[in-house]
């Protein structure tokens, strides 16, 4: 599985190229309304949602996807009352293991399957369902500005080399912002997590020299530094940060509202292009479109530290993990129907669901690829 290793220089430059192409593409899409549609283009791809037979399905896994599944499940079931779909938030690794062992129908995961998992479970698929991103939050009372942060500074914070918020390296990056002289408390996840996977990848790709280029995963060995705390779950990160002035924490975007309510702020991050970007819906969509063309058919790709102009650098696909070999064809059909419904822009991938958890819809090409993967479930 070469495609999911750290990108080589070539992939990075391809990426940059693709990014700019996508930008052009995007602007042309924006203008498309006024122009007559191109003649020879095939009709845009639409998702056909199968009508499922009676079935009882279960989903477990990512706690980040859990609220979205809880929005999806009742509406799907009211459209197709023959299916009961029970949801659970247990953690991505458990979702993968459960899907592999067949104890549940659908696992969900923030991270794609590792090459070793795929080689021991060759019938597992990771199907992109939606796009999520990560924000860097901090508790600096009185500060309203969005601090500029980058991989180097965050690395040094988590290595214990930068210990105060008014460290010259931070103030130099944020001229004109009055940063309080609080000691920095670095929060990390105590449990293994897809969020740690994303964040450590960002550090590794922004500044591998200090962090270590291969030092990423759902669990990393955090150096023991004086001012640090470990928290269970994203909820623990937010409440722990709220209780600790001076903290910095990496948090899944669904928790942004809760964090803001608790008085936390969030930063701009430097992307692979050197720009500092706010985590906005537009910046995420931009970044996603930059990755659309290079997303392989099996959906396995990291979208971290991309060189897309104006793109936010920590975004990811949220995945459904499903075994292609199901116990019966009727179960398989019901699973296909649920997933088709979920990726369909008309239903599950619609704004009415995704906006509630601040996720972004899949680009249409990725929807098509996910649809093709779904058809493999038999």
């Amino acid at each position: 599985m070469k495609s999911i290793r750290r990108p080589s220089l070539r992939t990075i430059s391809t990426l940059a190229l693709v990014g700019s192409v996508a930008l052009v593409g995007l602007s042309s899409v924006a203008g498309a309304g006024s122009r007559p549609a191109a003649k020879k283009k095939p009709a845009p791809f639409t998702v056909k949602v199968e009508t499922p037979p009676a079935a009882s399905l279960s989903e477990t896994g990512s706690t980040l996807l859990y609220p979205l599944w809880n929005l999806w499940a009742p509406d799907y079931q009211s459209q197709f009352p023959k299916v009961t779909l029970s949801t659970a938030g247990t953690g991505s690794g458990t979702g993968i293991a459960d899907a592999a062992s067949g104890t549940v129908s659908i696992g969900s995961s923030d991270a794609y399957l590792s090459p070793t998992t795929l080689s021991s479970n060759p019938t597992l698929l990771n199907i992109p369902l939606a796009i999520s991103y990560q924000v860097i939050m901090y508790n600096l009372p009185g500060l309203t500005a969005h601090l500029k942060l980058n991989g180097t500074i965050l690395t040094r914070i988590y290595l214990g080399k930068i210990t105060s918020w008014n460290d010259p390296q931070i103030t130099a990056l944020n001229p004109g912002v009055k940063i309080p002289s609080l000691p920095i408390v670095a929060l990390h996840r105590a449990d293994g997590s897809g969020d740690t996977f994303l964040f450590s990848q960002y550090l590794a790709r922004q500044d591998g020299s200090e962090w270590g280029v291969g030092n990423y995963g759902t669990t990393v060995t955090w150096p023991a530094i004086k001012n640090q705390l470990a928290e269970q779950g994203n909820g623990g990160m937010v409440s722990g940060c709220a209780a600790t002035p001076g903290c910095v924490a990496y948090v899944g975007v669904s928790y942004l509202t809760q964090g803001l309510g608790d008085g936390l702020g969030y930063g701009q991050l430097r992307n692979g292009n050197g720009q500092y970007v706010m985590p906005t819906a537009q910046a995420v969509a931009l970044e996603a479109s930059g990755y659309t063309k290079i997303t392989p058919a099996n959906g396995t790709i990291s979208m971290i530290n991309g060189r897309v102009k104006g793109g936010y650098p920590i975004i990811n696909y949220e995945y459904a993990i499903v075994n292609t070999k199901q116990s019966s064809s009727s179960t398989a059909k019901a699973i296909r129907s649920v997933l088709e419904w979920a990726i369909s822009p008309k239903f599950g991938n619609g704004h009415q669901y995704l906006s509630q958890v601040r996720f972004q819809p899949l680009p249409l090409k990725v929807v098509e690829q996910s649809y093709k993967q779904i058809q493999k479930i038999k």
């Binding site: 706690t63 809880n70 029970s86 909820g235």
Partner: protein, 293 residues
């Protein structure tokens, strides 16, 4: 006999100091235990009450919103199952250890096994259940593996409490029963076990409380479902309150937090109700017993 605070203090200075220190320490220790306990209970109640709605008890969960009927029923089913499985096994084990065991290596093995079992991390128990029962035997997430694993977990508490309680029954009671010509088994049931009942019930209560308060082993054996429990022992996941306590606390929405607070409150009230009912039953059976002071 009612206890009253003793009024007189001894005359020697050293003894008096020690007597006062004992009383201070006693109340201090009590404060150490009761303070945090009240803090916790008040916290649980205070968080849940403002958003409390009674229909939580009658509607099914939708994960991060909705009611908790499925989890309440599921928890009750699990507790009842544990009471039957672990209760029988634990009490019988305790009786055997106290009344029949002759010592020797076999009995030491049983005792060590009990203590070690109590020290097994619940998550490891759950994981073994998952690997061997749910996946290995193909039982899936269901009631039976959950009950087995929970029972393994709490049998030590019941057995130990039973043994300790039986051990404290005065020899004079046994001798009295014997002198009256009661056959051994009858005396055991009517005199010894009955006298030791408060201790045995304490063990059962602690065991049920622990079983009701566990999350990790259930997540790996019982699974989770938003539906009511079915009557089947295998292949159907079952819901329980602790899942919602933890998972929904860790969710970003206010609605989910309400679910979490409600689940905690219900759990604590259930434990409290269990304690009260059990103590009432015990005090009825003990009315004529004279073992207590």
């Amino acid at each position: 006999m009612a206890q009253v605070l003793p009024t007189g203090l001894p005359s020697t200075r050293g003894r008096r100091a020690r007597a006062v220190a004992f009383r201070v320490l006693m109340l201090g220790a009590l404060a150490f235990v009761v303070g945090p306990a009240l803090w916790l209970v008040v916290g649980v109640v205070g968080r849940a009450l403002p958003g409390w709605r009674w229909n939580v008890l009658t509607t099914l969960s939708q994960g991060t919103s909705g009611g908790l009927a499925n989890a309440v029923v599921g928890t009750l089913v699990l507790m009842a199952g544990v009471l039957i499985l672990a209760g029988t096994t634990g009490v019988l084990t305790g009786i055997y250890l106290s009344e029949f065991a002759q010592g020797g290596r076999g009995v030491t093995v049983v005792r060590v096994a009990i203590d070690v079992l109590a020290g097994f991390p619940s998550i490891v128990l759950g994981y073994v259940g998952y690997v061997a029962l749910c996946v290995g035997l193909g039982w899936g997430f269901s009631l039976l593996p959950a009950l087995m694993i929970l029972s393994f977990m709490v049998v030590p508490y019941i057995a130990k409490a039973t043994e300790a309680a039986l051990h404290q029954v005065p020899t004079s009671y046994r001798e009295g029963a014997e002198a009256l010509g009661m056959p051994g088994g009858h005396a055991l049931r009517r005199v010894v076990v009955r006298t030791a009942l408060p201790g045995i019930v304490t063990g059962l209560l602690i065991a049920l409380s622990i079983a009701g308060g566990e999350t990790a082993p259930l997540l790996y054996t019982a699974g989770v479902t938003n539906n009511l429990p079915t009557w089947s022992l295998l292949h159907h996941p079952i819901a329980y309150l602790t899942y919602y306590v933890w998972t929904d606390w860790n969710q970003p929405t206010a609605a989910a937090h309400v679910v979490s607070y409600d689940a905690s409150l219900i759990l604590v009230v259930m434990v409290l109700a269990m304690l009260v009912v059990a103590r009432l039953i015990v005090s009825r059976t003990q009315r004529h017993a004279e073992s207590a002071t």
